[in-house]
């Protein structure tokens, strides 16, 4: 059901409206009345069993007493009374309710039960809910202030949703000081019903919202979020601040809203895959909001600077290069024209230094030249308040030129006391001022990132021909035996079923069989202990490599079996796996952890110390496209090793991409896989493919309980 009733209701009931100015029920009604809701024939009904009139409006004892239809209820009563009030709303056929009252999920088990009750009532009567435990909803377009905020924020192109109501009060306070211009503002509270996903869907076609801003602590359905945000972000920028990214931060999330915090890596991948621009701080969020809300879109990465101050010009150049953008190189004729029109001491190359004594007309001349150069994708105008500087006139010049061109013109008027007059003029014409060159650099980086994400097509997901039933059988057998770990021989079957190359290998029950097999496949060989109960074979001395003859194999078989039995006495030993030694290549790790919020998080990195010491890995949430898998390869810091260094040839990237996609399919096909690790996957030079040498795989314990309830053997973490 659409959320339109929340944003353009013709009639609102405030359940708990109060005559006491100290009460939230008064504040909400007051905000609606003084926020201008009662124009154009819109109606407002205070609901209060005692009061006859509140703020000049006739109060009713119950919504059912109201003679006309009601589109939305705002509920501001003690939590105990909320369920009944909501039921009454249902009887009155009110399609939307904002529950401001607290005392639900955030207040422990009892509260959680109360919240469940609200959800059920909502479902029964078809009522959409915002909250509970929220600040309310503001719509500056209608206008409607259905919140207990202190006054109405200024109108503008930004739609804002915040999981935290308290942070919402600060955001609205900043907005009222002129930092933000809002179209819609929603405090989501506990998200019993309406979530970030619903709002994204609803706001994507909202013509007055040019950018969607989010403060996120946790998300309800990670995969659905990605699906929806991916489409919405093709229509307008979505910018998010995510809190709770560090370990201690995550603890605070759990204790605060009870929402499950996804891991930082999963969020990083999710935002990346969904095309969401991530802001690292509230301040960055505001800067990005102003940029996306007010500036022309960025069409390329070549930035020009016009400045009346050398030092800040250098700071800005630094910031632009640090942001991964480039300094525009002007046409030679352009430089000549600039040279002719500027004083001798000025710099006509980028950054264009118009000198400290530049008045507005010199800024205008330089800007006109720069914005029409076809090597320039954006212009940053830096002004410092020097003796001759015409601050307000220069602001007018910037406004005028910005309105004439199709590239973003960013103002950086540095200072505050004298410069504020100029910044105010810019603001009045919807041009943001970024006080520091470094801010402008970050903003351009975010714009460039969004541009990049817009240019990527919506992903298409490939499906490979695989043998699902073989894997199904393997898992069923393991679970049937009360195991959540998968043995080496089983892992080989799974890899083969999903089309991955594995080394020639056979299971030998005794030393003589092992020698026979080794002779048949040709020396040198590797022996590995075969046991479903030993995940980390190397750690227990369960692997011997480089065996050159029958004696070596015999010795290794006995030694490995002896050691395995000594280290893990309870382990079932199936014998030893005899494996042909594969030729050396580049060792890769491909793995997966199932994130509680987003599902299968696939990992790619170089094996060995690169993963262990450098933690140099890239992540994507499955499903991902071939293009995304290719980008993944380039994201690790050591990606140069894939292209070959020190005279080595480039590796077979195609087989790596295929393997990532096939593993992505496997972990989607089988949600019972909790984690897996192919380490190492040995990749050879281009065209020569690669081989999965070893895989560790763990199923979820819940699956095993579903099968026979046995407590599984505990396993170490594979991550």
């Amino acid at each position: 059901m659409s959320l339109s009733a929340f944003f353009a209701p013709e009639a609102i009931a405030v359940i708990g409206a109060s005559t006491d100015p100290e009460k939230l029920g008064y504040a909400v009604l007051d905000n609606l009345v003084n926020g201008g809701y009662l124009a154009d024939g819109r109606r407002l009904y205070p609901i209060n069993p005692k009061a006859g009139k509140i703020l000049g409006l006739r109060a009713y004892a119950s919504v059912v007493d109201v003679p006309d239809p009601i589109d939305m209820a705002v509920i501001v009563i003690p939590y105990r009374l909320v369920p009944d009030a909501l039921r009454t709303c249902g009887e009155k056929r009110i399609p939307a309710a904002i529950v401001i009252s607290a005392g639900f999920r955030e207040a422990g088990m009892e509260g959680l039960e109360r919240e469940q009750e609200l959800i059920e009532i909502g479902k029964t009567y078809g009522i959409r809910l915002i909250g509970p435990n929220c600040l309310g909803v503001i719509d500056t377009i209608t206008p409607m202030n259905a919140s207990f905020s202190a006054g109405m924020p200024p109108s503008g192109p930004m739609a804002f949703m915040s999981q935290s109501g308290a942070l919402g009060t600060a955001i609205l306070d900043w907005a009222q000081a002129g930092r933000l211009g809002l179209s819609r503002f929603v405090s989501l509270g506990n998200k019993a019903d309406v979530s970030e996903i619903d709002l994204l869907r609803y706001w994507q076609d909202d013509p007055v919202s040019r950018v969607i801003l989010m403060y996120v602590e946790g998300l309800p359905d990670g995969q659905e979020f990605i699906r929806v945000a991916r489409e919405v972000s093709k229509k307008k920028p979505v910018v998010a601040v995510k809190s709770g990214i560090t370990q201690a931060g995550s603890r605070a999330v759990s204790s605060h809203t009870g929402s499950l915090a996804g891991s930082e890596q999963a969020y990083q991948a999710a935002f990346r895959q969904a095309g969401v621009v991530r802001a690292d701080s509230m301040e960055d969020l505001f800067d990005y909001a102003r940029a996306f809300g007010y500036l022309k879109p960025l069409g390329g990465d070549r930035i020009a600077i016009v400045t009346n101050a050398g030092g800040p010009g250098i700071l800005a150049t630094d910031a632009i290069e640090r942001a991964g953008l480039s300094m525009a190189r002007f046409n030679p004729e352009r430089i000549l024209t600039l040279k002719q029109g500027l004083p001798d001491a000025a710099s006509a190359a980028n950054p264009v230094d118009v000198l400290g004594d530049a008045r507005a007309d010199r800024f205008r001349f330089a800007l006109e030249q720069v914005v029409t150069d076809d090597h320039v994708d954006a212009v940053l105008v830096i002004l410092t308040p020097q003796a001759m500087t015409q601050i307000e006139e220069t602001a007018q010049v910037v406004i005028e030129i910005s309105s004439q061109v199709n590239i973003p013109v960013l103002a950086c008027f540095m200072g505050e006391a004298r410069v504020e007059a100029g910044a105010r003029i810019l603001r009045a014409h919807d041009l943001p001022n970024f006080s520091f060159p470094e801010q402008a650099g970050l903003v351009l980086k975010a714009m460039s990132q969004y541009r990049q994400s817009l240019s990527e097509p919506l992903p298409e997901f490939e499906t490979f021909e695989v043998d699902r039933s073989a894997v199904r059988r393997t898992f069923d057998r393991a679970l049937g035996e009360g195991r959540v770990t998968i043995g080496d021989a089983e892992a080989r079957a799974i890899l083969t079923a999903y089309g991955l190359g594995i080394p020639a290998s056979e299971l030998a029950e005794n030393p003589d069989r092992a020698v026979e097999m080794a002779a048949a496949m040709g020396y040198p060989v590797v022996l590995k202990i075969a046991s479903p109960d030993i995940l980390h074979k190397t750690d227990v001395g369960g692997v011997k490599v480089g065996l050159e003859n029958g004696d070596d194999v015999r010795d290794a078989f006995d030694l490995i079996t002896y050691r395995a039995g000594r280290y893990v006495p309870e382990a079932r030993l199936w014998g030893c796996l005899v494996q042909k030694m594969v030729p050396p290549g580049l060792e890769i790790l491909i793995g997966m952890n199932r994130d509680p919020q987003f599902g299968p998080l696939v990992t790619f990195g170089l094996g060995g110390i690169y993963v262990e010491t450098l933690k140099d890995v890239a992540f994507r949430l499955a499903p991902f496209s071939r293009g995304e898998a290719e980008i993944m390869l380039s994201e690790i810091r050591t990606h140069a090793l894939l292209d070959g260094v020190r005279g080595k040839p480039a590796v077979d990237k195609g087989v790596l991409v295929d393997t990532l996609l096939r593993i992505g399919q496997l972990v989607q096909d089988f949600p019972e896989i909790a984690e897996l690790d192919i380490n190492p996957f040995v990749v050879y030079e281009a065209g020569q493919g690669g081989i999965a040498i070893d895989m560790r795989l763990v199923l979820t314990k819940s699956e095993i309980r579903a099968t026979d309830g046995t407590d599984p053997i505990p396993t170490g973490s594979v991550a």
Copy 2:
């Protein structure tokens, strides 16, 4: 000579004082008069050949006409007239002059000559100079505004020096809006005489300046800067923004002020070694300035948060952890007391959530508990403007509690419209407000970094017994032969002279001698081409390893010699070096580049792809102490490899530290070494030492010209 005349002059002459309000000469005089300089019997003399009276003050045609002594002159006349005016100052025995006029070094060769003339006049007469091409000097304590800035900034504990005058105008504009409180402000201009180093020296004992702030584009004498800043930063924090860090940024520096930009790595090392806190942006500089200027010093890294909003509490927790600090864990009794005194829904653990309806008294209770907990080193108070929030009263509480304790109390009142009233009260009591939790995190990180640097003793530099004359002889021979490159055999002599281990090795002129030597030292051996003209031996196929017998050696000798001759026909071939194969160990790179601004920049990293692909290296400027060398080892991202991974033992860190110190000594002893590279240095497990396998060394070309003027053979970069 002391700079005191610049800051507390009893009498000032303004040379070029004007009656025309459009002229800088008027602005300067006006600033002095209206800035309050003329109190306490201080005197001011406008110098202007035409005017009888300016701003009510009697004007003189020349400083020599002034009957009384003059302590300082401010020169604001066309550049052509400046040298003569300065001479007249000399005749009048004025000890200090600020030259505001532009048209000197920044204006090309002719200007540079004029600046040289100023410097000589200054030396001749013993006049200290600030400028030319600057904004002037401000001292809010005297008070004295000897600049053409727009008005006087508010007084405070921050001493600010800026290489850019234009940026200075912005800084002063921010100060006037209340962002900074300044004690002294100096616009350094071209730094013909007075530089950052002089001001650091002078301000270190300035009782009114609690923190020194710098905007730096380039520094005149890097080594002296480090020596002075190292001592000054033990007395008070020094915070610097350095511009021109990226490549394009550096280009802008060169074209802007003509100052030579040191490399980013050299500045990074210099600031680190000098104890200077580096700010990454102007905004960070301001935040650090307010923290160091107004807050109590930080005594540890355990941070407590008291907040009326959960979301911002999480953001702050994230910021604190990201900054490398830790969340304080309170005493159990403290948590109990907090629980008893706060509502049920509040959180008594860190972050302490006093809930959205907290009034000032609840903030007071929580803060009183937290600041007295001995597990807390700093407190961050977060306030969002909710319905019941008492913004101004809570500000008063923060001020009161902050004044009673010895730990820093940081305010983060979020918002702007309503919250400003609280921020204003805080500011009036010298307590900064940081609008965003992320800012507070960065500030705490900077405070922690300064605390760490304070705790380190002033470095003591070791000197090893070495054979300088052996190295001297080697260099003289090379230079005498017109070479700037050092051959392998010569490199061995240098390494030995400085006490570094090298593999057994001899120079064989022909294959037979090579086989004899190999047999004597024992197989396997390595053969390397011996030529002073081939620096990158591997690139020309000039190295063969793992030679097992006489035939191998003979084949290798011929092959290497043939290839070397083919690739570098002009190279002098001395034969082949026969080297005993050293046992495998961890490969290290130790190198040095001579930075034009700071001198010898020593590099440490793991060899091979770690350096080449990951660029994972640490830097220090020689001289550095043993302690600094030890920290260097821990700074590389792959430092875990030094401690042993995958069952390998830790390496001999002692020999690495010694080698770094010895190389530091070598490059100081011989300034003619332009660059050197020991790659690889093979290090063994703890106690087993290490061996320098190969060294490349290049002398400066100027040395060779000094010897015989021959043009040296061009060499590739070693970096």
